[in-house]
Symmetry: C2
Subunit: 524 residues, 2 copies
């Protein structure tokens, strides 16, 4: 689509132009904290044993062309998506039916559900739930119908640890800066203009979400009162630490809210819930100053989403400990579960009525149909009619080409594409149980664009594909009988464009390695 | 002084406290562009051939204790100092007498003066001159009079390339941040408090100075009109590039002014003055886009101050070319000359009336005496009475201990201290000409404090001494018959505290290697 309309984008650069552009990318990014800690393959531990160095986060040199109508549509439906997933997370009964179907094939989901059941048995003490979501899309245009307009198709909906919001706004800032300082050469037509580069509020909007939860928590529950804080539950080490710091910094500067970082594996060592406090405030004692205790209003999970992080029963004990506390969880266990591939598949199953069930009392039929229009066909691999149809595709080399097989669980990776699906299915043997831990999804094959990626100090250029994520913030009350509205806050919160090399044998931009990008809107 | 009052500052840290503090120093600095490109001794070219990596600029972990009255006095007299040096730079006749005395021993000064004469002969076309100054002080307390209050003594006054203003405000921000997040342990007394950490406006105030000059330049002089810009004349490569970018970024964000960086050695290749334009607008054609020309309103020299930068007659041709243009120079040749050590020495010669001559018509006698009180005794090494007295000191091992010998020329380094002075003087032979290229100055020996310096990924701690710089911005009109006031703008523009290891054999903070610091004010 875009590639064929503007084959000369991005423009060819002379070496002087290229040097000027790159030198400004390198300097602006460091000046503005658009950075990561370099990987050990770039800078060995021997050179930088104290992990002091930083490097520009992987970014594209140019903003990638993106259809304006697709971008605007994705943003316009975000609050409906936020509401949908909040309502799913509130509907324990509905979730139970689905979860029970997959617990036997997915240990991780089973464990999460057990955590929920344990807290439910004791009784939840916090009725508020915060979602910082990201709905990810690709542009899709049916190759068999060349006259149709490009549309967005949802790739996944993230309910936990939706990352890169702290960098995405900065990449928009970077590309706007490069335009301002005339680092992009004149083009005809002039595609990169102020009006084609939309503002990106991701840092301000996402941190505002955390601030709203912090405020909604209310006064301290501990006696005597302790100072309040937000805890970022993180992985350690974390190369992408500046993404998270951008949010913490905005919380401190704009909202005067103190945050601390707590590596998930040491949760139990540094937090506690006093048995004498039925309201269960979560108390954090910073290791650097254990004599000063804080009460945690909000737990922001940037860890705990991958099964590999749960290395022992202690990990599950920690998750249970956090879930039963009075802190507002971002996300709660049920919200985490709502983001499983299985839920996405059920919502997106053609002819299902779930979408109407959740949304029709508050959202217009038109908007519901626009949400539905973003679904790519997703199938279970089970004994249902749709499931049997899908297994037929997945085992047939002739049909599997246009599909992707994805595990139900969170955390990305391990997708099986096209022709690799049938041998993979075969390798599972006859155990239909194992089939059911996956879903089959129609492959969205967006037309390739060209761009240059700056990563680890090197520029590579070639064919790329982009994935648009729209952030959403939602604060809601769960439980059956809540006073007042269920949804308390709900807004769209900026966007991420993540661009990676198109899977090809020809080299160029490394396939699978994403770079943060921004959109250059075009009318197609 | 301070060291003896608060011997426990900075406090001892446990390893957990130290790790927390350092980890926040490392992360906040990169998030906020308080960075430098690492030296080749830290990261070899082999590891980072594209010079992509960055590291925290050398900073102190704690703000250094500094007497409040000294800090306030240094800031209070800055506008008087600005005016003094603006008026010195305006007084060509007065300067001529001094310069003619040293041209024969100082090639560099001679060349600068020749540039002025050449432009004077042709006629200056720009009557405005911008100074971005920095007056550097040390705290001094006469060891023989223990009951006196600490006072400031001027080390030097910089009229060209006054650096670190782009980092200094950020270090104040860093230390305030560390206080906000409770990274400093509780102390008794609580020395690090909000009220002991003054705000530092260096970035906003210095960039405002450039913006004021840009605006005062007026409309384009070229026909047809070209877009206007400010040129930063820089060294290349420059590890301290983020210091300069912080100012450029503020110019773009706060004032919508475009800046470009021009390495001094390629000045002639990328700028020109059309012979058909008697008003001599300086035209810059960016190498990355030579078809788009800009008219330069203001030349901000962050290069061209060191004799070693003038490698051939082309370098002097370039300096002349820039000086004769219509751009406002920061600084002009005469302002550059006004910052020579010789001028400082003449102003500071005990019993001289120069200070009154320049300031008494506009500045109160009280303020003049406060400026004078900051002078350390400075002597010429010539045939005058003071000069002979000084040569007596400089050649006597018994007397030289409390003095420092400094070259007249700009650029720092090459100072000869104490007992090393007599053998150095001896090595000059009998040529009194060579003596005259130096001045002798009473050594200010501030009491040592303790601090920790983070540099190249390593922390060292030990005894340190600090040097306070106060920035000043001044815009004035030169020429004999100017309409309106001579001084158009004049303000104090934030501060720098530069801290370095005390010269000692005991190791610790490397002597001579400075770190950017901020003040923690104490009442002594």
């Amino acid at each position: 689509m875009a590639a064929s309309i503007y084959p000369d984008y991005p423009p060819e650069l002379t070496s002087t132009q290229s040097e000027y552009l790159l030198s400004n990318v390198k300097d602006w990014s460091i000046l503005n904290g658009l950075a990561v800690r370099p990987s050990l393959s770039f800078v060995s531990e021997e050179v930088d044993s104290s992990r002091s160095l930083a490097v520009t986060a992987p970014v594209t040199i140019f903003p990638s062309l993106f259809p304006r109508r697709c971008f605007e549509e994705a943003r316009a439906i975000q609050t409906a998506y936020n509401e949908l997933y909040a309502l799913v997370a509130r509907d324990e009964e509905w979730l139970r039916n689905i979860v029970e179907e997959i617990v036997e094939v997915d240990d991780f989901i089973a464990h999460l559900w057990d955590v929920h059941l344990a807290v439910k048995k004791e009784g939840y003490v916090q009725s508020l739930s915060l979602g910082i979501f990201r709905s990810d899309y690709m542009v899709h245009k049916d190759p068999s119908q060349p006259d149709t307009k490009p549309e967005i198709r949802q790739v996944e909906f993230n309910t936990i640890a939706s990352s890169f919001g702290g960098l995405a706004a900065k990449v928009s800032g970077l590309h706007s800066h490069l335009l301002s300082i005339t680092a992009y050469p004149p083009m005809n037509p002039a595609l990169i203009t102020k009006s084609s580069l939309p503002a990106n509020s991701s840092i301000a909007s996402i941190s505002q979400g955390l601030a709203v939860a912090h405020k909604a928590y209310g006064p301290p529950k501990s006696h005597p009162s302790l100072p309040l804080c937000i805890l970022f539950v993180v992985q350690d080490p974390e190369n992408n630490v500046f993404d998270q710091h951008a949010l913490a910094s905005a919380l401190l500067s704009n909202h005067n809210i103190l945050t601390f970082r707590l590596p998930f594996p040491v949760t139990l060592a540094h937090t506690h819930i006093s048995s004498g406090q039925p309201s269960r405030p979560l108390i954090y004692k910073p290791p650097h100053s254990p004599s000063t205790a804080y009460e945690v209003t909000t737990l922001y999970f940037r860890a705990g989403y991958a099964p590999t992080e749960y290395t022992s029963s202690k990990s599950w004990e920690a998750r249970l400990h956090l879930e039963r506390s009075a802190a507002i969880k971002c996300p709660s266990i049920l919200t985490h579960l709502a983001g499983s591939k299985k839920i996405q598949q059920i919502l997106a199953t053609p002819s299902s009525l779930h979408l109407d069930r959740f949304l029709s009392s508050t959202i217009s039929a038109d908007l519901i149909s626009r949400v539905r229009a973003t679904f790519a066909a997703i199938y279970p691999l089970d004994d249902s009619k749709a499931g049997k149809y899908a297994i037929g595709i997945a085992t047939d080399v002739g049909k599997a080409r246009g599909y992707v097989l994805k595990p139900q669980r969170e955390g990305g990776g391990n997708n099986i594409y096209g022709l690799k699906i049938p041998p993979f299915i075969k390798s599972l043997g006859d155990e239909s149980k194992k089939y059911r831990s996956h879903i089959l999804m129609e492959l969205i094959e967006p037309p390739a664009l060209r761009n240059s990626v700056y990563r680890n100090g090197e520029v590579t250029q070639g064919e790329v594909i982009g994935e648009l994520g729209v952030y959403g913030v939602c604060l809601w009350q769960h439980g059956e009988e809540v006073a007042g509205p269920k949804i308390l806050e709900n807004w769209e919160a900026g966007y991420l464009l993540r661009t990676k090399g198109k899977d090809s044998e020809e080299g160029g931009v490394a396939a699978g390695f994403g770079a943060v990008d921004s959109v250059c809107l075009i009318d197609v």
